[in-house]
Amino acid sequence: MNAPTETRGFIGKSVKRREDARFLTGTGRYTDDITLPGQTYGFFLRSPYAHAALKKVDTKAAEAAPGVLSVFTGEHFKAVGGLPCGWLINSIDGTPMKEPKHPILADGKVRYVGDRVALVVAETLQQAKDAALLIDVDYDELPAVVDVAEALNAKGQVHAESADNRCYQWQIGDAAGVEEALKTAAHVTTLSFRNNRLIPNAIEPRAANAAYDRAGDSYTLYVANQNPHVERLLMCAFVLGIPEHKMRVVAPDVGGGFGSKIFLYGEETALVWASKQLNRPIKWTAERSESFLSDAHGRDHATTAQLALDKDGTFLALKVDTTANLGAYLSTFSSCVPTILYATLLAGQYRTPKISCTVNAMFTNTAPVDAYRGAGRPEATYVVERMVETAARELKMDPGEIRRKNFIHEFPYATPVGLTYDIGDYDSTLDKAEKLADVKGFEARRQASEAKGLKRGIGYSAYIEACGIAPSSVAGALGARAGLFEAGEVRVHPTGKVTIFTGSHSHGQGHETTFAQVVADRLGIALEDVEIEHGDTGKILFGMGTYGSRSLAVGGTAIVKALDKVVAKGKKIAAHLLEAADTDIEFEGGQFKVAGTDKAIPFAQVALTAYVPHNFPHDKLEPGLNENAFYDPSNFTYPAGTYICEVEVDPATGVTHIDRFTACDDFGNVVNPMIVEGQVHGGLAQGIGQALLEHGVYDKETGQLLTGSYMDYAMPRADDLPHFTVETVKGTPCTHNPLGVKGCGEAGAIGSPPALINAICHAIGVKDMPMPASPFAVWQAIKSNR
């Protein structure tokens, strides 16, 4: 047997991605690429009104149109339940959040522009679209609730269950203690701001293809989704009542998610149900305009915050009051985003002793709002880092110094908002970022800009996030209706090649490479000998999917645990083969060895013996070498870092030029630096997009989405972004997972907006700046400050 050429030290290497070959040659397979025998096509008729009663939905003419197989409306789904929300939040008074029905197709009312009214299924997509025009809908328009800040006292009422449009009023922390500190503090910084609404815009639109097999009374759903097992569980057990073993969900290649493909949507649910009625597969792919209207949006908070400090800049207390937009219905994880994933991060990297946060979560006649890259943590970081920087400017302190003064230095550290940070070293990332950004040279650069009539500013952001979602016991105590573990399986083949089945799902993250590096390293085999399978409930034992920067920390750990079991069993097989005691066998570098001797056999030989057990001690060992493991983390992981942004603003035009953007992160151990850096780049682009360009805007009166296409919603293009300086410090490995990893997918989107806005405020000498800081907004701020 040939010895593998390179079998050690994959962890920490920038191995080129194995998945690229298919994407670069056009042989990736995304949901819309899959066409099944007997394929039909679905088209959803959507509401043109933000809020209206459906007085009549007449589908007769559409049903008679050429090629049409059927037209489904809310009437068909009356007996079917609504879409579930996965997280229960209780109000301050102890009452549970309001959970109005989230219908699969509109049930007597439409509640946002884009709400699903009917599903037309036809032999071709064009026939379905043509027929949809023949559906006669009589809408009785109702007053729309649009702006979250005004929802509480709006004329309109989104749901009968909530007279004031409030879903819940939630609170965390020592409110009385915070009030006391605010009264007596030497200085209080106060700011109000909006965290702008974002529309996720994965470049692959949502898509699904549902097939029913009458012979087996079973279903297959291909869907662009980040967590196929969760999709299956929610759809089968909580909506359609399909036994789970009769449903296979496949999330094949998925073209980006950023949160928007976590959720169970009405579209695929309707398709699955209808596929049985018609006994034909039905495919639907969102047009981009449908994505804008109907993908779950992100952010959209209105917040007022107060930071109390003593005269030398020590933080005493933080009070935060947030009104969060949930949109028209509770999307799958919407309720936990502005609460559990938000307010628990308000300590940031600091020893603020008292923190209190109140959240009013509101229904509005807009698309549902749910997790989008960072999910709650960008909103929290924006609050903390805008407050800290503003306080520094008010107290004439250096933004680095005020942070250093307040950093947490002793770990583990229990924050006043429910989390316990296991480890971190915030000075190291701040110091490094300041060096990389050449902060010392700022004043000279500022003067040079001034000489050109330009205003230069610098802004910091020292973020922290809670990743590796999540310890199920903690999540459960906080209202989660699901566990948040991960599953992995290691199937060793007779030749010693290995297939890994993971419940994590890769939609750009590069798991097929990173996970293989971990496996090859642990087993001492070649990278080529490892295959990673994901995204198919028919193959993978279970999984909670990919979001919250959890894949390596939780999914990777499940694989490591399964690998440990493989090695443990391999030792027993090797002990038999080498005629030694189990306890004398060591596994190292792909070899099972008898300790203290030169007797050794390679991994592949042990694998072969497991499957060719001619001389096997059957009383002690089962044949085969296949193990699985579930892993539930004991804590969140806490990636942290400092981002520094330097801008040059043209006061004549309000145009902001990002001169340099420096990101310095501590992700604990890093398996593939190239991939980690790429994740940071992508996060930065989305965070800078939020701060400078992107804004989901509804007309305040009519509730029409004004930014419903790429002509109106400013997606960052290559020429909008600077060259980033990104560095990952050696860092502090996570203390509670065997890989010592923390997660890196969301950091860029979390840390960057406040750094950029702080820099603009510094440049033009203002305290307040809305996002996105468009040239007009910046220009207005300059004028009004005069």
């Binding site: 080129k16 991605r17 998945e19 690229d20 070959a21 298919r22 994407f23 670069l24 040659t25 056009g26 042989t27 990736g28 397979r29 995304y30 819309d32 690429d33 815009n201 994965a202 470049i203 692959e204 639109p205 290649d253 998925v254 073209g255 980006g256 950023f258 792919t285 047009e287 981009r288 305009s289 939609h507 750009g508 993250q509 590069g510 190239m674 991939i675 850096e677 790429g678 780049h681 992508g682 996060g683 930065l684 682009a685 989305q686 296409s709 790429y710 002509m711 997606m715 960052p716 293009r717 290559a718 020429d719 972004l721 060259h723 980033f724 860029g748």
Partner: protein, 158 residues
């Protein structure tokens, strides 16, 4: 129906299509070349970029019938017949210029056109030249790097 004859990835073929068929529908549905993607409906995202007579076009933005008599190259036709990647494809892998892969075919086709017909002599020029293609994953930095590297490789192999 309209009879359409054109060369696709080096082979001449003839198909019947509805006159209203978009070129991208023809590519994805009629020819089953699913490497060309659709990411928007306003000709903004560039995921559908292919080469017509060696020039990049957004295939969502023209009719299939307009391609009659022309030479069409899709992402499936960019590598050599033996599977050797085009230098630009190789550069995207080397530089980690892709993540989810959905924008990648259009991005690579645009990049090849950029190198052949436009200025790609600086980072600024490359960023400007990629203005017609969205990527939501990479933040573009590694794409820019890949295009520069791919350009150098194309020039040295030309």
């Amino acid at each position: 129906m309209t009879m359409l004859t054109l060369k696709v990835n080096g082979r001449e073929l003839t198909r019947d299509v509805e006159p209203s068929t978009l070129l991208v529908q023809f590519i994805r549905e009629t020819l089953q070349l699913t490497g060309t993607h659709v990411g928007c409906d306003t000709a903004q995202c560039g995921a559908c970029t292919v080469h017509l007579d060696g020039r990049a076009v957004k295939s969502c933005n023209m009719l299939a019938a307009q391609a009659a008599g022309h030479e069409l190259t899709t992402i499936e036709g960019l590598a050599q017949a033996d599977g050797t990647l085009h230098p630009m494809q190789a550069a995207f892998n080397e530089c980690h210029g892709l993540q989810c892969g959905f924008c990648t075919p259009g991005m690579v086709m645009s990049a090849v056109d950029l190198v052949k017909h436009h200025d790609c002599s600086s980072e600024r020029a490359i960023r400007d030249g990629l203005d017609g293609n969205f990527c939501r994953c990479t933040g573009y930095q590694n794409i820019v790097k890949a295009v520069a590297q791919g350009a150098a490789a194309m020039k040295s192999s030309a």
